[in-house]
């Protein structure tokens, strides 16, 4: 008997945090598995290209962008980020991935809304999404869990959300539909969180990893 007893099986296996924080939907996964291995561009370059394109379009075309240009922006984002679904950059740069995905997604939502003069609705949607995304982080940190599959399907992933936002824009349904969407998404996310916390507090069966992020403490 050696003293190196693997304690891994006693602790809940933490899902890969980068994959959870990315919040990819089925479309991004499909793009990733279809094109991931075939495009010989480094993952970090793709992520920077996608986020950079959206930021540039937002800055230069802004609220005057045509429907066609917004469609092009959405496609670029889907392709560049989608391919990286299956391919990550070098491990020491993993920390940059979730931030870039969030910047790409949120900026696209804000830009699409801006072309229909619906920025307040975009703010509402982004605020509702921040609840979901912070909840992903804190749930993993405090309870070593991810949200249930039905909630993830409902949230549709960043890929689903930019497509829905563009469809709403094309249908001329902004801002009203975006407000409704933000309200529903926010309400369902908060309600699910409250219910799952009550369940967790009642059972308290597992001890998840509890590590404070030192220094920042936020």
């Amino acid at each position: 008997m050696t003293a190196t007893v693997a304690p891994a099986e006693q602790r809940p296996q933490l899902p890969d945090s980068v994959a959870v924080y990315r919040d990819d939907g089925p479309i991004a996964q499909a793009i990733g598995s279809a094109l991931g291995r075939r495009v010989p561009i480094p993952a970090m370059a793709l992520l920077l290209l996608g986020a950079g394109t959206i930021l540039a379009l937002t800055a230069f075309a802004g609220s005057d962008a045509s429907l066609g240009l917004t469609a092009a922006g959405v496609v670029v984002l889907l392709l560049t980020f989608g391919i990286t679904n299956a391919r990550y950059p070098k491990e020491s740069f993993h920390w940059a991935v979730p931030s870039l995905v969030r910047i790409g997604e949120y900026t696209t939502l804000a830009w699409l809304a801006a072309t229909a003069d619906a920025l307040p609705a975009a703010f509402a949607l982004i605020a509702a999404l921040t609840f979901r995304h912070y909840d992903l982080v804190y749930r993993l940190r405090h309870r070593a869990e991810i949200p249930p599959a039905w909630l993830n399907r409902l949230a549709a992933g960043w890929d689903g959300r930019v497509i829905i936002a563009w469809l709403l824009l094309a249908l001329g349904a902004l801002p009203a539909a975006m407000y409704v969407w933000a309200g529903l998404l926010g309400a369902v996310s908060v309600a699910e969180s409250v219910v799952s916390w009550r369940r967790f507090e009642r059972s308290r069966a597992t001890a998840g990893e509890f590590d404070e992020i030192e220094g920042e403490g936020e």
Binding site: M1, T2, A3, T4, V5, A6, P7, Q10, R11, S17, V18, Y21, K90, S92, F93, H94, W95, A96, V97, P98, S99, L100, R102, I103, Y106, A110, L119, P120, A122, F123, I126, A127, T130, F131, H133, Y134, D135, V137, Y138, R139, H142, S193, W197, F200, E201, R204, A205, T206, A207, G208, E209, F210, D211, E212, I213, E214, G215, E216, G217, E218
Partner: protein
């Protein structure tokens, strides 16, 4: 036991443990095996008319730990039995101690176990800080700078986890803290303790050569540090300074510079060294810790902070501890310790200075941290509503309310640490409500600005995107660092050296194996391997931390929550929402560049 009776605000610790709490501790193994200077049992040194052991057993009972085993050497059995009764268990030597620990850990059922030496003197609250903290599943009590005469071993910890521990026979590379003898093992980790202690027992019965060499090396190291401490205190005496000047971290490295000449210690120090050397191989607790760490178990960290700790090995040092511990205002120390050490500049100097007294008031009124957190959210929503008016009075009222919300937010954490009512739900509420308050205020400011004919929704969107992206970079970077620590491959307990020291030794061996340069050219002493640029920059970056104020400047540059809320309040009250968002975006953008460059450098350097 006067000092143990003064619980904070008369709070009595919960007797026993809540059912199903995976971190509850109900069993203690007390090692009363270390000899005092006169050969008697150190745990039986006198303390306020009783003994150190009785004091400790009393503290453990107050913490709800009623299953106690006291390990004792045959020579001291009768004396310890007079104090501990049938809880005594006779162990002939350290290997028997470790076997007893392994047996206790392997016993079916039961909750967590705490292993600690019978002769330690500390506040009950220091023990409670480790034993009653549900966030520390399996963990240790660690302290900062100790004096050369202290009898303890050192550990290296990172991100709240012990990654290497020293024992009489084990070496910890670049230690960061002192192991204060208390090891808590959660129920889930008991099988690991049972296996590793059994293995250590086999080895301790006949220490392998590598272990004996390490003990020999420690003798020299202790001799040198006692000598250095003596030199220092002589200098200090000339300056009329106290003898309690703490000694820096020991230069606990294998390449320690040789001492300039033969070191001669004073008679007292020689005696101290002999005692430490006699006591060291008896330290089953330190060995048990090494066993847990080397098994790859997540061993968490609780800090002593500013509470008192001593491990007397002579009547004189026990008497000194008895006097010293009286100087501690336990409640004040606990309150000061409730303030987070890693907070930003604004929080530390403008909020925590008074919020701790609100925390104490809330504790005495019986408020829970979660109640305070919820109140804080409501004040934050009120602030957002005031901002949403867009009027001057509303902006000023919102600014004041936001500061009130932030103060309450600091209070909840301090209250939780002060009363040790930690919960996962509380941590989640605190984090998620902080984000909510901030973004609700963004919305309020933007609504107010629109009402006065200056729509700033684009800026508001930019601010929320920037802040969320910053947080996600922090989360992911932190998760990556934590994973990196978990990936350290721990060498088996047979090895005296830890993972880092073994790697360093292999690097040295590889360098030595390279062909020697030509004989006539005198080799420069130890040519340092060329450092990559990124590492050199990082080293310089850490070096300037020693300059006064630099640490705080760096924390401010990262634009933490206190600074953000202060910036929102000030700019909103004095100017308007547009200025607020521009300041948030500018400072936040600068913080991105600042943290990004550090992280990119670190990622390249790896």
């Amino acid at each position: 036991m006067s000092d143990t009776g003064t619980a904070v605000g008369g709070r009595a610790p919960a007797a026993g443990a809540p059912v199903g709490d995976p971190t509850a501790v109900t069993t203690a193994i007390v090692t009363a095996t270390v000899p005092a200077d006169d050969g008697s049992c150190a745990a039986l040194l006198r303390w306020e008319g009783a003994t150190l052991l009785e004091r400790l057993l009393g503290q453990l009972a107050e913490l709800g730990i009623h299953h106690v085993r006291v390990l004792v050497r045959p020579a001291h059995e009768a004396a310890v039995r007079a104090v501990a009764g049938d809880r005594v268990r006779v162990c002939a030597a350290t290997d028997a101690d470790l076997r007893a620990i392994a047996e206790a850990a392997a016993a079916p059922g039961g909750a967590g176990i705490v292993i600690l030496p019978g002769e330690i003197v500390t506040h009950r609250e220091a023990l409670a800080g480790l034993l009653k903290d549900p966030r520390v599943v399996t963990g240790t009590l660690l302290g900062g700078g100790r004096r050369a005469g202290d009898f303890l071993f050192r550990v290296r910890s990172k991100r709240g986890r012990v990654i290497s521990a020293a024992s009489p026979y084990h070496f910890a590379n670049r230690p960061t803290s002192a192991f204060l003898g208390v090891l808590k093992v959660a129920a889930a980790d008991r099988p690991v303790l049972a296996a590793s202690a059994a293995r250590l027992a086999e080895l301790a019965a006949d220490p392998p050569e590598e272990w004996r060499d390490e003990l020999e090396r420690k003798r020299e190291m202790w001799r040198n540090s006692l000598w250095r401490a003596a030199q220092r205190s002589e200098e200090d005496d000339e300056e009329g300074d106290g003898e309690d000047a703490p000694v820096d971290e020991f230069d606990d490295g294998p390449e320690e510079a040789p001492m300039p000449f033969d070191v001669t210690l004073s008679a007292d120090d020689e005696q101290l060294l002999r005692q430490k050397l006699a006591a060291a191989p008896q330290d089953a607790t330190a060995l048990a810790l090494v066993g847990m760490v080397r098994s790859g178990t997540h061993v968490g960290v609780t800090r002593l902070r500013r509470l008192f700790w001593a491990r007397p090995l002579s009547p004189a040092s026990a008497a000194r501890a008895e006097v010293d511990i009286r100087d501690y205002d336990e409640d004040k120390v606990l309150l000061d310790s409730a303030v987070k050490a890693s907070d930003g500049f604004f929080t530390t100097f403008f909020v925590s200075t008074y919020s701790r007294y609100i925390a104490r008031w809330a504790a005495h009124r019986g408020f829970t941290p979660n109640q305070v957190t919820t109140v804080s959210l409501f004040i934050g929503i009120l602030a957002a509503a005031a901002f949403a008016t867009g009027e001057r009075w509303g902006l000023v009222a919102g600014a004041i309310l936001l500061q009130a919300a932030f103060t309450t937010d600091c209070v909840d954490g301090q209250l939780a640490r002060y009363t040790r009512t930690f919960s996962k739900l509380g941590a989640w509420l605190d984090s998620i409500f902080d984000r909510s308050k901030e973004y609700v205020c963004f919305a309020g400011l933007a609504i107010g600005a629109s009402a006065t004919g200056d729509p700033v929704w684009g800026l508001a969107c930019a601010a929320i995107i920037l802040q969320t992206a910053r947080h996600f970079s922090d989360f992911s970077f932190g998760a990556g660092q934590t994973r990196l620590i978990g990936d350290i491959e721990q060498p088996p307990v047979e090895r005296a050296l830890d993972a880092a020291a073994i790697a360093a030794a292999e690097r040295r061996a590889a360098r030595a194996a390279q062909p020697e340069p030509t004989e006539q050219a005198p080799r420069p002493a130890e040519p340092a391997p060329p450092q990559p640029f990124s590492r050199r920059v990082l080293r310089a970056w850490h070096t300037i931390d020693r300059l006064p104020g630099v640490r705080w400047l760096k924390r401010m540059a990262a634009f933490p929550i206190g600074e953000r809320f202060a910036a929102i309040s000030l700019t909103a009250a004095l100017f308007d929402a547009r200025v607020t968002f521009i300041v948030l975006l500018t400072w936040g953008g600068f913080a991105v560049l600042y943290t990004l460059s550090g992280r990119v450098l670190r990622s390249i350097a790896r």
